[in-house]
C-alpha cells in the first residue's frame, strides 16, 4: 500500500500528521478517519492511541470512522491567522460513533452552514507553511440535498 499517496502526499503537500486518515478498503475508495475502538469498554476515540483513553485497556483496535456526521457548532473566522486563508470556517462535527472532531469546513457558503447540518468528510488543503508547502488534512463539507 502506498501510504504516502493514500494520504494525499505529493511533492508540495504533506498530511498534517501521519495516521489520521486513509482509504477504507481499496486504495480508490474515499478516505476515512482512522480512530480507535476499545474492545474492553466499546468506546470509540480519535485519533488512534494504543491505550483506551476511557478505561485504559490496551485492547484497542484501529477502525475506520463514519464519513458523515452532524455539525454540533461552527463559526467563520474573519481575521487573518498566520498560515490560514481568511475567511475560513471551522466546526465541531459529531460522528455516529459518539466521537467529536474539530475540523475545518470546506465547500461552504454562509447559508449552507447550520448547527445540526449534515456534513461529509473530504481531504484537502488546510493551511500553507511560510515556504509554500501545503498541509492537507481531513475537512468536512455540507452535504447538498438533492431535490
Amino acid at each position: 500500500m502506498d501510504e504516502a499517496r493514500d494520504e494525499g502526499k505529493t511533492d508540495r503537500s504533506v498530511p498534517f500528521r501521519k495516521g489520521l486518515f486513509g482509504p477504507a478498503g481499496n486504495s480508490d475508495q474515499e478516505p476515512r478517519l482512522i480512530g480507535a475502538q476499545c474492545l474492553a469498554c466499546g468506546k470509540y476515540a480519535f485519533p488512534f492511541r494504543h491505550t483506551c483513553i476511557f478505561c485504559h485497556s490496551e485492547e484497542v483496535e484501529k477502525t475506520f470512522l463514519s464519513r458523515t456526521g452532524k455539525i454540533h457548532t461552527f463559526t467563520i473566522c474573519r481575521v487573518p491567522v498566520p498560515h490560514f486563508p481568511v475567511p475560513y470556517a471551522i466546526g465541531f462535527v459529531d460522528l455516529p460513533e459518539g466521537v467529536r472532531i474539530l475540523s475545518q469546513l470546506t465547500g461552504w457558503s454562509e447559508k449552507d452552514l447550520q448547527v445540526g447540518g449534515e456534513v461529509e468528510m473530504v481531504v484537502g488543503k488546510i493551511k500553507e507553511t511560510p515556504d509554500g508547502q501545503e498541509i492537507i488534512s481531513y475537512q468536512f463539507r455540507p452535504i447538498k440535498k438533492r431535490i
Partner: protein, 379 residues
C-alpha cells in the same frame, strides 16, 4: 486542612506597555501586596509565580529584585488560569501545614509579542488546524444562540456592562463606556463575536500574600478568609457534551460551593472569566446564578450590574480591565478582596461579604477548558 487568609493584594495598571519588561511590571505589584499585608518580606516562606509567555524561572528573577531568595519558588503555567493556579498552589501548602505565609503572583508582557489573536501551537490537532480562542468561543455562542435563543444584543450587553463598570477602576486597561451599537458594529472577529466582545491583550501583574488564619492575627485584624479553592481540568471532547454549557465550570463550582458550605444564592459578587462575552453568559448558568439557557436574559435584566441582585465583574472583567494572561487570576482575587474590605471606591458592591473568582484557562488538544480555578472568599 487549616484555614488560610489573604492578608494583602497588589495589582499594576493593566494596559499596553511595550516599553516595560516583566520585572518592571511585577516588582511594584508584589511590593504593594507585601506592604498591604503588614507582613515583613522576610517572613514569606514560599512563592508561586504564574506566567504563560515569558522567561524560564521568571519567579526567581522577579524575587531577586525584591531580595527574596532562598525560599521555595515554583513557576506555574495553566494558560489564562496561571495566576489562579499560583494562588491555589500557595493556598494548598499553607492549608496542609507545610508553611504559614506565602506569596502568589502573576505577570505577563504581551504587547511586545502579540498583535491580534494569540497564535497557538501549530502541531496541536485542533489549534494546528485553525482553532484560535475567538473561534472556540464563537462556536459556543452559536450553539447557545441556536439552542436557547440568545441574541447578538444580549451577548454585546456583557461588554457594555463591563466597560461601564471599569470607569470606576483606575487599574483597568479601558476606562470608558461603549454603547451597544459600538460593540455590535465593531469589526467581526469570528461570527458572532465582534472586536469589543473579545478581551484585549495587554501587560500587567498582580500579587497576594496568603497566611494561615491562626497566624494572621499578628499582622491584621480583618483578614479575608479563603473559603474554597478548586482547580480542575476539562474532559476530553471524545465524551461529547453540550457546548452551550461548560461541564468543567459546573463541576468545579459545585466542588467549591460544597467546600465553602454555601450555594450561589449566598454570593454577593463574582469575578468571572469573560475573555469573550459568551463566556460570562455561559458562566452565569454554570455557576448556578440562573437556569441553563437563561444567561442572555439575565444580563438583559441588569441584575448582574453593580447595584443589581448579583453583580458580576465589577472590576470591568477581562473584557475591559484587560487580560495579561498570568496576571488575571490574582487580579480577580484582588478585586474580591477590595470589595469585601469596602475599598472598591466608585464600583463598590454594597455590603459585600462573600465573593467568588472564576477563571478558565485554555482549550487545547480536545478538552473543554484546560484549567478551571474557583476561589470563594469571605469576610
Amino acid at each position: 486542612m487549616r484555614e488560610v487568609c489573604v492578608l494583602g493584594v497588589g495589582m499594576s495598571r493593566f494596559g499596553k506597555f511595550p516599553e516595560k519588561d516583566l520585572l518592571e511590571l511585577a516588582v511594584p505589584a508584589v511590593w504593594e501586596a507585601i506592604k498591604d499585608s503588614g507582613v515583613p518580606a522576610k517572613k514569606i516562606q514560599v512563592a508561586y509565580c504564574g506566567n504563560v509567555m515569558g522567561k524560564h524561572c521568571l519567579g526567581q528573577r522577579i524575587l531577586v529584585e525584591l531580595g527574596l531568595t532562598g525560599i521555595e519558588i515554583v513557576n506555574v503555567e495553566n494558560a489564562c488560569s496561571s495566576g489562579s493556579t499560583a494562588f491555589r498552589g500557595v493556598w494548598a501548602l499553607i492549608a496542609s501545614g507545610a508553611y504559614d505565609i506565602g506569596l502568589a503572583f502573576g505577570a505577563e508582557q504581551m504587547s511586545q509579542k502579540v498583535e491580534g489573536a494569540i497564535q497557538l501551537d501549530q502541531e496541536d490537532l485542533e489549534t494546528g488546524q485553525g482553532l484560535i480562542m475567538p473561534t472556540l468561543y464563537a462556536m459556543k455562542a452559536n450553539r447557545h444562540m441556536q439552542r436557547f435563543g440568545t441574541t447578538r444584543e444580549q451577548l454585546a450587553l456583557v461588554s457594555v456592562k463591563n466597560h461601564a463598570h471599569s470607569c470606576h477602576n483606575p487599574r483597568s486597561q479601558y476606562q470608558k463606556t461603549f454603547t451597544l451599537e459600538q460593540v455590535l458594529h465593531s469589526a467581526m472577529i469570528a461570527d458572532p463575536l465582534t472586536l469589543y466582545q473579545c478581551c484585549p491583550t495587554g501587560d500587567g501583574a498582580s500579587a497576594a500574600i496568603l497566611c494561615a488564619k491562626d497566624v494572621a492575627a499578628c499582622y491584621q485584624s480583618k483578614p479575608i478568609t479563603i473559603a474554597a479553592s478548586v482547580l480542575l481540568s476539562g474532559r476530553t471532547n471524545m465524551e461529547p457534551s453540550e457546548m452551550a454549557s461548560s461541564e468543567l465550570t459546573r463541576r468545579a463550582s459545585q466542588a467549591a460551593y460544597d467546600m465553602a458550605g454555601i450555594g450561589p444564592q449566598d454570593l454577593d459578587l463574582l469575578e468571572v472569566h469573560d475573555a469573550f462575552t459568551i463566556g460570562e453568559i455561559l458562566h452565569y448558568e454554570n455557576l448556578g446564578l440562573c437556569p441553563p439557557g437563561e444567561g442572555g436574559r439575565l444580563v438583559e435584566s441588569q441584575q448582574t450590574w453593580i447595584g443589581g441582585r448579583i453583580p458580576v465583574n465589577p472590576s470591568g472583567g477581562l473584557l475591559s480591565k484587560g487580560h495579561p494572561l498570568g496576571a488575571t487570576g490574582i487580579a480577580q482575587i484582588a478585586e474580591i478582596v477590595w470589595q469585601l474590605r469596602g475599598e472598591a471606591g466608585g464600583r463598590q458592591v454594597e455590603n459585600a461579604k462573600v465573593g467568588l473568582a472564576h477563571c478558565m484557562g485554555g482549550g487545547v488538544g480536545g478538552v473543554d477548558g484546560a484549567a478551571c480555578a474557583i476561589h470563594i472568599l469571605k469576610r
